[in-house]
């Protein structure tokens, strides 16, 4: 049989299936629901994320302006005045917001401590989204497979029940051709439902998303829906009746989409308990007490620092130093504290990472988990990207605090500084000019580089490919049994 003949047969079978759907009110309803959900989710999420991004950008520029507009002050005051960073969502988060709502979106940067990000949106939510949000990612990952099942459970069993299967065989239509034709029919439905997401993806390109992750993102969803079309086809081909096909597919959906992702989450949190920040703060406080309180230059912990400095400048008292010893202590202790803080912060992040890795391993069992991971990684809305934000925020915090500490050490004399509460006049003298507040870099949190996003998603994509291979294997096996 020439490939052209087979091609036309496949297409004829697919068209026949589509004709059947057009006459079936169930199929029409399902397609309509799927399309409405897909379009609505793309629209709603796009609007919500755009508004959020604008709000956060606005607050970010406000925060910077307010900081830079502060009057002449003692530099240490500005360390406590602090600065705010707002996390702005990456372009592809309009299609998969990922963990955005579950993480704080504002972080307060100040001296001596690392604050956690505050005001997670989920805390302000109606609580109605405990099962899932109307986002394109959720609609594609969980709801679309269900609708594909309702649409396609009978693609093979219907022919079998109606007795047309034998008829087709006699006519010389090989089982594989038949399956291929039905696959094309299902894929057509899948593509139709995917269309709004593709449009949304094209829009993100206009909003500054890089090409590679967007293409990989769309491709991952294509692959994912192909897997489900394959599952529907395989089960329908193997099942003896419409009824068993439907029940079997429902069972697969419940297991893959509802149960396994949550089992993965439970397993991760039970297998690896993470200490909260509050708990590690005890250790941080202890260690800070050991390394000395930077507010108190007379703390015995700073004796070695003092002796070294006096020796270095060959003087006998701190008053004679060319730098303000209080500022030096402040800078020194900040860097000591930060080492401790970072050690614990890093530990916490690594445990969270390990938890997420446990959950993601379940992606070998369920393509839903694989697509969730791939999707969030490509969109830059997963745990790694959030942690990247936290690390970046910490780097900014440290830089901005230390530049103020340097100002404290070099812009004020020790005498001015030590006597600042002596009188109004002394207080005024113990300040530096507000021109020094222009230390904040224009903060734009840049997500990972496009190639990095893609590289991070490779494992999940591999999981999807494996699932696809297994499904194809099943289909070939089923084809032989027809």
């Amino acid at each position: 049989m020439s490939s052209a003949v087979m091609g036309s047969k496949v297409l004829a079978i697919a068209k026949d299936e589509w004709r059947y759907w057009r006459r079936s009110s169930l199929a029409q309803t399902v397609l309509l629901i799927a399309l409405v959900l897909a379009i609505a989710s793309v629209w709603v999420t796009q609007a919500a994320i755009t508004a959020t991004a604008e709000k956060r950008q606005h607050m970010q520029s406000d925060a910077t302006q307010v900081f830079e507009a502060q009057p002449d002050r003692h530099p240490h005051r500005m360390i406590h005045y602090g600065h705010y960073l707002f996390r702005s969502p990456p372009p592809l988060s309009t299609l998969d917001p990922g963990i955005d709502a579950f993480t704080g979106n504002a972080i307060f940067l100040e001296g001596h401590q690392q604050n956690s990000a505050t005001f997670a949106e989920q805390k302000q939510s109606s609580g109605l989204t405990w099962l899932g949000k109307l986002t394109p990612a959720y609609v594609m990952q969980v709801l679309t497979p269900l609708l594909l099942i309702v649409l396609g459970f009978g693609v093979m069993t219907r022919e079998r029940e109606a007795g047309t299967l034998d008829f087709l065989k006699v006519q010389g239509v090989s089982p594989l051709t038949l399956i291929l034709g039905k696959a094309v029919a299902l894929a057509g439905a899948g593509l139709l439902i995917l269309a709004p997401l593709v449009v949304g993806a094209l829009l993100t390109l206009l909003n500054g998303a890089a090409l590679l992750p967007v293409v990989a993102f769309v491709f991952a969803y294509l692959l994912y829906l192909a897997i489900w079309c394959g599952i529907v086809l395989a089960v329908s081909a193997l099942a003896s009746s419409n009824s068993t096909s439907f029940s079997g597919l429902m069972a697969v959906w419940i297991l893959m989409c509802l149960i396994l992702p949550r089992i993965a989450g439970n397993t991760a949190s039970v297998a690896l308990a993470s200490q909260g920040k509050l708990e590690t703060d005890f250790a941080v406080l202890q260690s800070i007490r050991d390394t000395g309180d930077g507010h108190n230059a007379n703390d015995p912990a700073f004796k070695a620092l003092k002796d070294n400095l006096l020796a270095q400048y060959n003087v006998t008292t701190v008053e004679e130093l060319p730098v303000n010893f209080r500022g030096v202590v402040s800078r020194y202790s900040e860097s000591q504290h930060t080492d401790v803080l970072n050690k614990f912060a890093e530990q916490k992040m690594q445990i969270e990472q390990a938890q997420a890795d446990i959950a993601r391993k379940f992606g070998w069992l369920s393509p839903v988990i694989a697509i969730q991971t791939a999707s969030m990684k490509l969109a830059g809305t997963d745990l790694e990207n959030y942690q990247r934000f936290l690390r970046k925020a910490e780097a900014i915090r440290f830089d901005f605090v230390q530049s103020l500490n340097t100002l404290h050490a070099e812009g004020l004399s020790y005498a001015q500084d030590a006597n600042r509460y002596a009188s109004q006049q002394a207080q005024k003298e113990a300040t530096v000019s507000s021109a020094n507040w222009q230390i904040l870099d224009e903060f734009h949190f840049t997500p990972l580089a496009p190639t990095q996003l893609f590289a991070n998603s490779l494992m999940a994509l591999l999981q999807l490919f494996c699932a696809m291979a297994i499904v194809v294997g099943f289909i070939l096996f089923a084809g032989r049994r027809i």
Binding site: R73, G127, W130, N242, S243, I263, S269, G276, R289, A356
Partner: protein, 415 residues
């Protein structure tokens, strides 16, 4: 209907491989959810215990180190927490989104209360299997699998008429078969719960209430399935109706309503609260001390004649402007909280259209793991912080000399 009928139908139903499999899956899921839920609750208790010990040591260290009320108030943290209730293992609720532990000190509360030391956000997003999820979401699906083809399968096998004719009474066949299936499913789901509830020390009344509400919920879905199963469509079409109804009430209505609620209720941004509080606190350094003190005595007239300061830095002034910072942010913080409460209340109306959500809200309410419980905890922390101020202000404002014994009267947080 006789005992014989019941035995016969039970045997018949349970001997069907597909039914037995569904029941087994239900049982295993309930078991898994109860087990992991109990482990998690135990972890939370252990965390609280460790933190209590560490907090005591930390406080003792601070108390030894400083001998001035202002410094003590600055450096002493106080542990506050909301322990998981006995029922929390069955309804995890929002304890992974809202904080249930804080360490607070005498500084402005608005700068501290919004910190949230929550667990892994990626796991929180995926959600977890708890008993509530098994009953509210999975049980209806299992029922649909079990009941939708009650008659259709017999019809397809050509036995329907024969069975209907030979049945002793109208009740001894279909209703009986359905009741047997439903009750065994209910038992398979609640038995692990009962074991877990006894292990976790849930009161008998609460256990009965939970298994009763689970029964009512399962019966409602069963009635729907039973009613739909009467129509003479093919089994998959009947199941599609039921799944469609489940999808609509469980996912689509809540998700769409959430969008509408987000659009309909607007409150201040969280960031604004922090900014307002910070500005108020920091401005105090740049304005005359008397201005701050005058504003302070508006809310604390009892200290009106103790506001004079001798130097440019005094702790009473420092804490006075912390208080003023809170007062400045109060309207915003209240509006922020009000918005959250309004949204939650509006969602309560939506829940009447979504049985699964209604059940989830009820069980998390009983387990004190819902947003309302989180707000109650937040209020407790605020009250405790107010008590701390009430304790420290006399030490800061009056001229009495500080001595360590006064700390015996310092408030301790009780959950």
């Amino acid at each position: 209907m006789s005992w014989l009928d019941i035995c016969r139908e039970t045997r018949f139903v349970l001997h069907k491989k597909s039914v037995a499999l569904v029941l087994l899956v239900g049982f295993l899921l309930a078991l898994f959810s109860v087990w992991t839920g109990s482990v998690e609750v135990a972890q939370q208790h252990a965390t609280i215990e460790r933190m209590q010990k560490a907090d005591e040591l930390d406080q003792a260290g601070v108390t030894k180190r400083y001998d001035e009320a202002g410094l003590l108030a600055y450096y002493t943290f106080h542990l506050t927490y909301a322990p998981p209730s006995s029922l929390a293992f069955a309804a995890a609720g929002v304890r992974d989104v809202y904080p249930w532990k804080h360490r607070i000190r005498m500084l402005a509360i608005e700068g501290q209360i919004h910190e949230s030391d929550t667990q892994n956000p990626e796991l929180a997003m995926v959600g977890r299997i708890d008993f509530t999820f098994v009953i509210a979401v999975i049980a209806p699906l299992l029922l649909i699998l079990l009941l939708h083809d009650l008659r259709a399968s017999e019809r397809a096998a050509g036995r329907l008429d024969f069975l209907s004719i030979t049945a002793r009474t109208g009740y001894s066949l279909w209703p009986l078969r359905a009741v047997v299936v439903v009750l065994t499913l209910w038992l398979a789901l609640v038995l692990p719960f009962i074991a877990g509830a006894i292990f976790n020390g849930v009161s008998a009344g609460l256990i009965l209430s939970v298994i009763f509400i689970a029964l009512v919920y399962i019966l409602l879905w069963s009635l729907l399935c039973y009613w739909v199963a009467r129509f003479s469509f093919s089994a998959p079409v009947l199941a599609s109706f039921l799944i469609g109804f489940w999808l609509l009430t469980t996912f689509i209505i809540p998700a769409v309503a959430n969008v509408a609620i987000d659009k309909g209720f607007h409150g201040p941004q969280g960031g604004d609260i922090l900014m307002t509080q910070r500005e108020a606190v920091n401005d105090a350094w740049d304005i005359p001390i008397e201005t701050t003190m005058q504003a302070f005595v508006v809310s604390h007239p009892e200290w009106a004649d103790k506001t004079q300061v001798k130097s440019l830095f005094e702790w009473k002034w420092y804490y006075a402007f912390q208080q003023l910072g809170d007062e400045a942010a109060k309207p915003l913080a209240q509006a922020y909280q009000q918005t959250a409460e309004d949204k939650y209340r509006a969602a309560g109306w939506v829940a009447w259209l979504s049985p699964a959500t209604l059940l989830q809200r009820t069980l998390t309410d009983w387990a004190h793991t819902d947003a309302k419980a989180a707000w109650r905890y937040e209020q407790k922390v605020r009250d405790f912080h107010a008590q701390l101020r009430h304790f420290y202000y006399p030490l800061l404002f009056s001229d009495d000399k500080y001595h360590a014994e006064v700390l015996d009267a310092r408030p301790v947080f009780k959950p």
